[in-house]
Symmetry: C2
Amino acid sequence: MKFRISRSALTEAVSQVSKAVSQKTTIPILTGIRATVDEEGLWLTGSNSDLTIQVAVPAQRDDKDQVKVEIIGSVVLPGRIFADIVRKLPGEEVDWVVDERWKTTLRSEQAQFELKGLDPEEYPRLPQLHEDQMFSLPSELLKSMIRQTGFAVSASEARGVLTGVLWQLKEGKLNFVATDSHRLSRRQAEVEAPADFTVDNVVVPGKSLSELAKILQESNGWVDVVLSENQLLVRTENLLFFSRLLDGTYPDTNRVIPQGGKTEIVLSTKELLQSVDRAALISRDGRDNVIKWTVKEEGTVQVHSAAQDVGSVLEEVTAKVSGEEMDISFNAQYMLDALRAVDSDEIQIVLTGTMTPFVIQPADRDDSLHLIVPIRTR
Amino acid sequence: MKFRISRSALTEAVSQVSKAVSQKTTIPILTGIRATVDEEGLWLTGSNSDLTIQVAVPAQRDDKDQVKVEIIGSVVLPGRIFADIVRKLPGEEVDWVVDERWKTTLRSEQAQFELKGLDPEEYPRLPQLHEDQMFSLPSELLKSMIRQTGFAVSASEARGVLTGVLWQLKEGKLNFVATDSHRLSRRQAEVEAPADFTVDNVVVPGKSLSELAKILQESNGWVDVVLSENQLLVRTENLLFFSRLLDGTYPDTNRVIPQGGKTEIVLSTKELLQSVDRAALISRDGRDNVIKWTVKEEGTVQVHSAAQDVGSVLEEVTAKVSGEEMDISFNAQYMLDALRAVDSDEIQIVLTGTMTPFVIQPADRDDSLHLIVPIRTR
């Protein structure tokens, strides 16, 4: 294995696969990054038990050589130190030579590193997926769907399937649902999919999705999504992102989303967010992080919180109110998470009663909603 | 106590005193911030057992009212939550009212907070210092002296006086020394001081100095330094910074600094720094974080490090070499700390032998030096 590669292209690829590389693992070779070079360019692979990221550095880019291959081959290098070295090498290009015992020499200008490599045959194989189970959507849309639902997954590993986001697809409509049983977030969008491709119970770990959102950060094109029984693959031009799926059946959440309500309020997302954010300063010191709203017919929402030994906060937000006056108490953090996920300037909140779940939606769209279960207070 | 204050001025002052506020403490009132308002403006005080920071918000600034006082007074408010509230209040101004039981109301536009305050009489008194023991220097100079020595203090609380920086003053020359007994850093500078003001054994805790450097970050004018038997006071226009001093006699370090040497090398600070930084990638995985230099008569320094199970690095840096060829091994982190502290483009290193301390200095000045004790290797 012998080639020369652009250091900046290598640095970028290494930083992407590093997101999947295990720091601690029961499978030692997974602390490494696998590198494979052939005439097409270099492929790097990083993996932990949950997800695998593969990034290509194509031999040419914009008519310029990025990788000049002399001898094709593969090696596994220690992940963390390899990434550090690549980032700190002095020159524009790196000469990379691997001998028959996997000893790897990286040379760039006056600096020369030798690393003990490992046999790439011992590196786990990538999952094989059938391409017929596939749909496509813009990378921006996928990132926003993740951002608007991912925070609502359960943080407790004991909750199994609830630590993931449910993906459903029917008639070209993709639906994401996440809930920890105290709150729920849902987002729908049209995607490009075969009309008869239906997905009912695919649950992707929340952690995988937050890594995916990070790795797609710079990506603006379309992504392909390929599904198999126990794996998800998200693919862009030079990237393969594999995640295992969670076992188990996701609960039917349609029943818990109320239709209609007793009180409807429409107000500025930003004003409400800032107001709840301030109230949360007090509630965080109190039990359960509770804040209380009093919705007044004349068109205000009073935001209130009190914590013994600390103090209290009271403020009013102007709102369009229709229906009954109502008091409602809830977890301030859940409300902050939901309000931060909403992209619209105006927000609509439908209350169904002091002790029943209520729904937060953009005022101008119905493709996303957040549900919060209130808290009983004295 | 009743006044109105500019929120931006208050926010800045609170963020500065917060640096001294205890998070955990055996003296509960020290988790608070003391506020005192009179016709001159507002003074805020934060303190922990080691240091005290007092910041003024003057009533006027640039002919504009910052503080409009109706009733003078004092109160102690819970530090963390008070700082968060001030930062997040909505308006330009804050109305601040304290009743006779220290209940404090902070109101800004539609938001109103009530906080349980404490009796300011229970807050510890500030140290009293005599103004005759005083000298002055530019804030920038003080920050650079701290930056060039502070890293070399001992991190081990068991080392007592070595966890601080020694301050000495004689004939208008200020001298900072820090050592953890494996390396030493020294910096000298002229300051404005009475000719007969001599300081011999003032030792300031390293932690206090790093806080001081942070709090002086934005300050460009001159600072006054006032010394007493057990306290240091650094004063700028609107800031008082008190630190306790360390007990004990600082060791005489003049003896350990070698005069002359066997090998002298002059080289680019940046090139050497980057080279040692790369070598440290390997040495960090090895025992003792050791790297080795081989100084060659023909004008190169070979930088080498090897760690079992990882690999090795070798590179050459061009240098002007005079004297004997020499191998020397040392802690890579000590070298990185010293090289990062040097402000000059070129650096001079004087080696006295494979096993004796060596000195790193700017090539063009003799007001600062760093000494490193080598490590014995096979």
